[in-house]
Amino acid sequence: MNIMTPTPPSKGRVDVDNFALSYDTLEGPVEAVSNASIHVNPGEFVSIVGPSGCGKSTLLNAVAGFLKPTRGGVTVDGEPIDGPGADRGMVFQQYSLFPWKTVKGNVEFGLKMKHLDKSSRDRAARTLLGLAGLTAFENKYPDSLSGGMKQRVGIVRALATGPKVLLLDEPFGALDAQTRVIMQQILTNMWQRLKISVLFVTHDIDEAIFLSDRVYCMTARPGSIKAEITIPLERPRHQSMMMSSEFLGLRRGLMSLIREESIKAMGGELNDLALDGLSIDLHGQSLADVL
């Protein structure tokens, strides 16, 4: 809340403070998130994990500007959020590419909205498509692409406008395991090149650890922050690190946190029986610090 260090040169700081959001329904208000505070430093890669239905998308949509918090504040670089805008790029699980635009047309869309002239749009789109290995597909329509390619276009499209923050809501959830690994690598590459802040929502613990500098773990609905875990793995990261004892320790810790919440989300009766089999084994020292 009070930043002691001088503001860093690059932009893209996200502050979510004491955030709460309720949906109005016929049965009365449904509290999706009860109290969450999340911070993303400029250039940092932060993930949010939690059981399904805990309010991850709700939180991310509030940062995107689609939802207004019932309580608390959401700011980007100190500015309160007032509706969606190109300073926060968003990547959706359902890809959401414009089917009537070619791959290049999709990527150029944000630049067209910025009234960039045709030749600079063209150049920017080509550069980014090259980075994502999509040059050969620039004139194809999205319907003819595989899921992995579609999502690469989705990421490139969101990055094209040069946003300060990239928001991703379970972007690889619909992809097969092999494709997902490649996509994670590509996302890491682009993130390091563009030095952009990332807020990444997922329910895949391995993915969260492998990609992030920090991971927030949410409780079952109404969601709040249960734990914040710093991932001390060095960069660049490699697939082989997923076998290291450090990684496995982090994984075990996060897994038990999540499992506890998932059981809560599925109904309390399971508790006694199921929790018996879960030993919260904290091999990851940093996790022990947090708890």
């Binding site: 969606p84 414009f98 009537w100 869309f109 910025k114 290995g133 999205p142 690598q185």
Partner: protein, 305 residues
């Protein structure tokens, strides 16, 4: 940074590598046993294999049409009376004769051209008004709330029922006929445009907003193209109804036009011309629908159907 790009590239290669390998080996097994075959023959064979279904449909369609003509010929030549009476129905050959006569006659062309012109005006006017109206009604609740009740009351009234009213409303006969044609195609276009607007994926709108699009751009870049497939469904249906309405209006109040030609043939006891007029209407309807479909394919290259 060097290391990372290398890692990325390697990942991609391993991902695409096996596919490429499989494909080249597949191609080799197909071509190698043939040695150096005549390229054209092989190409033709493959084309035949791939288009067998289409060819079959064309063949059966041709046979079916020939059988229809044959049945028509036999029924009329033998003046069959079996509850319905074929005594006065012209035979295919009589209609053909009538056609050759009409081809040398400029008044027949005048009828056809005038009908086409009425369709062009009436239908284009309907499209130019109904599509934007549907887009606006689909986007802005107030417009929908105000206009929808009026539309719903007027919609069930068939265009033909408007004939007397149209004659009173418009100063000339020509204008009232165009008005009838307009009415016939207006509602199918409007309803389908509205339907298309209601199906626009809200996530696409969100995606556009995240990319900095404001209201006007969202309208032009998301709502309009997303609704286009349904707009074209509306245009196709609307074109069909436009012909129905036009022919009815021409039969009742026209002085020219292919509908009037058909009706006049009955009054003048030119029975072959009745069938000629009918066939001509059918062909024109078919042609205009095909035109709309072709236009749709041109405008929506992403919509591969």
């Amino acid at each position: 940074m060097k290391v990372e790009t290398f890692a990325l590239r390697r990942e991609q290669q391993t991902a695409t590598g096996p596919e490429i390998g499989a494909e080249t080996s597949h191609v080799r097994t197909v071509q190698s046993p043939a040695g150096a075959p005549p390229q054209l023959a092989a190409y033709l064979r493959r084309w035949l294999a791939l288009n067998r279904r289409g060819l079959r449909a064309v063949l059966i369609g041709a046979i079916s049409l020939a059988l229809f003509l044959l049945a028509w010929h036999l029924l009329t030549e033998n003046r069959v009376v079996f509850f319905i009476r074929f005594t006065n129905v012209p035979s295919p050959s009589a209609v053909y004769e009538s056609l050759t006569r009409a081809m040398q006659d400029s008044t027949f062309f005048t009828h056809v051209v005038l009908s086409c012109r009425r369709i062009l005006f009436g239908f284009s006017l309907a499209a130019l008004i109904a599509v934007p109206l549907g887009l606006v009604m689909g986007r802005f609740r107030v417009a929908h709330e105000i206009l929808f009740p009026v539309m719903e009351v007027l919609r069930p009234i068939p265009a033909i029922a408007w004939v007397p009213m149209a004659i009173m409303l418009w100063p000339t006969n020509e204008q009232s006929i165009i008005y009838i044609t307009f009415l016939g195609s207006f509602f199918p276009i409007l309803v389908n445009t509205l339907h298309g607007m209601s199906l626009v994926d809200p996530v696409l709108v969100r995606a556009a907003q995240c990319l900095g699009a404001r209201e006007v751009s969202i309208f032009r870049e998301v709502y309009f193209p997303a609704s286009l497939p349904h707009i074209f469904t509306g245009l196709t249906v609307g074109m069909g109804v436009a012909w129905v309405s036009l022919i009815a209006a021409e039969m009742i109040s026209g002085q020219f036009g292919i509908g009037y030609f058909t009706w006049e043939a009955y009054s003048l006891v030119q029975y072959a011309d009745i069938a000629l007029g009918m066939i001509c209407i059918g062909v024109l309807g078919l042609g205009s629908s095909a035109l709309i479909r072709g236009l749709g394919r041109l405008v929506m290259p992403w919509n591969r159907t």
